[in-house]
Amino acid sequence: MAALLLSLKLALCVSAILLGGGMPLAYWLAYSNWRGKFLLEAVVALPLVLPPTVLGFYVLVAMGPHGPLGRFWQMFFGHGLAFTFESLVLASVLYSLPFAVQPLIASFESVDRKLLDASAVLGAGRLRTFWRVVLPLSIPGVVTALVLTFAHTMGEFGVVLMVGGNLAGITRTVSIDIYDHVQSLEYAEANRMALVLLAFSFAVLTVVYSINREVGRQMGRRLWTPWAAK
């Protein structure tokens, strides 16, 4: 049970951070005309193709006592960063970045540019245009981003194992817990947790696809999901 609660807490933190940080990033990626934009796009999409262990490995090195992040953390908080809950949040934010940013980009891009022009000639600056026009018309994308980030973080394994290790109550998330049970041949225990995750994942996907369907009906298009061709 502690593992499930920890996973939920982690997923909530990561979702909140990615919603706040993902929006400006997605806005910039959707509207910028910078020629080197593709570089950043590639970096954002990297966690989609990178093995979690690779990502986890580099994050771990960076957070270690000799890594830049670890030293910085030590200076400010007086203790190391690796194998803490904070390290899990940080790694998960990186790992789930595309799941938050891609749906946001897709829905920002699908807002009719003429509406942005109309907003500007009516005297609204960029921020006001974002809050009053872009965001309200991107709600399905925001929901998709939130749901995917949350679900992806809930089910994370490799990165967590690399960065957080396996400390009960601190870094032992659901998927690690299941792995532990299987290692100890406690199949019934493992099954209970696995069922919870299975049901949860299924519910999440149902929500995403039903939003997609509704939006598709209304606007004749689909939102981004990692499983559909873009």
Binding site: D117, A120, V121, A124, V133, L137
Partner: protein, 374 residues
């Protein structure tokens, strides 16, 4: 009108070049002055009309030029002035209207009103909705509103902000003539008190006639004529403009002979023996020219007419007859093919039918010499 001294004058001198991979570069190079009241910006699609509006509104930055409203400079490439669109106070109604689909009509109209108390804002919104006769639609969203009413709401939304000028990009396309007139009348009465410059873009000759104001004609990124609709469009000097200005007949021919004492020249139409007299132009014998003639300017007779002042009487044969609304469109083969319009009554009394022999009568001054636009 005493207001003319204060009335803001919109001027735009704009140079902009756009290169595309597969197309020849598009060059916009115009200089226009728009006084208070409605000025029509007329030209075929692709002439650069919308791009010019985008530059004036600040949505597109020209490579060079200067845009001013009254005494304020909005853009000047030399002093590197570029006021952002949100600070220009120039209203712009797009062809697609761009109403915010998630807001009610009222919220759309109130969008541009800032720094007012709630009460003042509501009052202004109400009043402009009343002027444009859509106050009953306050709480509806754009998808639930019909075409003509959406256009009225878009106008109301851009005018409630007290703009210094108004840009309209084909705002009334797709509406029937009656509805157009009604909306334009409401726009005129709104502007009677304010007297701001209104630049009205259209490619429809019909709308130019209906609005009947100052016209600036554009083609391929350049201004090709300015003045009253009569001056600009009745004597089109450019072939493409003639086409879009509703000259149904565009004939090519060769100048045979100049008769300066009569103020005319004789032109033989291509691939026929048919010769017509047209007003003298910048052409000499042997030059090839284009002549534009309005289908409605051609008279028809079923016997060879005599004792007319008209100089061009051409014999031909009716090839086809087509009813188009309240008129009949005839194709007449005279060696060259002409298109003529007659009323159903006239067609009946002349006994017109296919293969019928007819005589076309053209006044010399109904034949307009046009330049090739290449």
């Amino acid at each position: 009108m005493g207001g003319e001294v204060n009335a803001p004058f919109l001027t735009a001198r704009v140079k902009l070049e756009r290169r595309a991979v597969a197309a020849p570069p598009f060059v916009l190079d115009v200089s226009i002055e728009v006084p208070a009241g409605i000025t029509i910006l007329f030209g075929p699609s692709g002439a650069g009309k919308s791009t010019l509006l985008d530059c004036i509104a600040g949505l597109v930055q020209p490579q060079a030029g200067r845009i001013t409203i009254g005494s304020e400079t909005l853009f000047d490439s030399e002093s590197r002035t570029n006021v952002p669109p949100q600070a220009r106070r120039i209203a712009y109604v797009f062809q697609t209207l761009a109403l915010f689909p998630h807001m009610t009509a009222e919220e759309n109209v109130a969008y541009g009103l800032n720094g007012l108390t709630q009460a003042a804002r509501t009052a202004q919104v109400q009043s402009v909705l009343r002027v444009f006769r859509v106050e009953n639609l306050r709480t509806r969203r754009p998808p639930e509103i019909s075409g003509g009413e959406r256009q009225r709401i878009a106008l109301a939304r851009s005018l409630v902000t007290q703009p210094r000028a108004l840009l309209l990009d084909e705002p009334l396309t797709g509406l029937d003539a009656e509805l157009k007139h009604a909306i334009v009348d409401d726009l005129r009465s709104w502007n009677a008190a304010r007297n701001i410059p209104i630049l009205y873009v259209t490619h429809s000759r019909e709308e130019v006639d209906a609005l009947g104001e100052r016209v600036i004609a554009m083609d391929r990124g350049r201004v090709v004529g300015q003045g009253s609709p009569l001056e600009v469009l009745e004597a089109p000097r450019r072939k493409r403009l003639a086409q879009s200005a509703g000259f149904e007949n565009l004939l090519s021919g060769t100048v045979v002979e100049l008769r300066p004492s009569d103020g005319v020249m004789l032109v033989r139409l291509s691939e026929s023996a048919c010769q017509i007299e047209v007003p003298l132009g910048y052409a000499g014998p042997g030059d090839s020219v284009h002549i534009a003639i309005r289908a409605g300017d051609i008279l028809l007779a079923n016997v060879r007419p005599e004792g007319l002042s008209a100089r061009n009487i051409i014999e031909g044969r009716v090839v086809s007859m087509e009813t188009r609304g309240t008129l009949i469109r005839l194709r007449v083969d005279c060696g060259a093919e002409f298109i003529a319009h007659v009323t159903p009554g006239a067609a009946q009394s002349l006994g017109l039918s296919r293969e019928k022999r007819v005589w076309l009568v053209l006044k010399t001054h109904s034949c307009h010499l046009v330049e090739d636009s290449e």
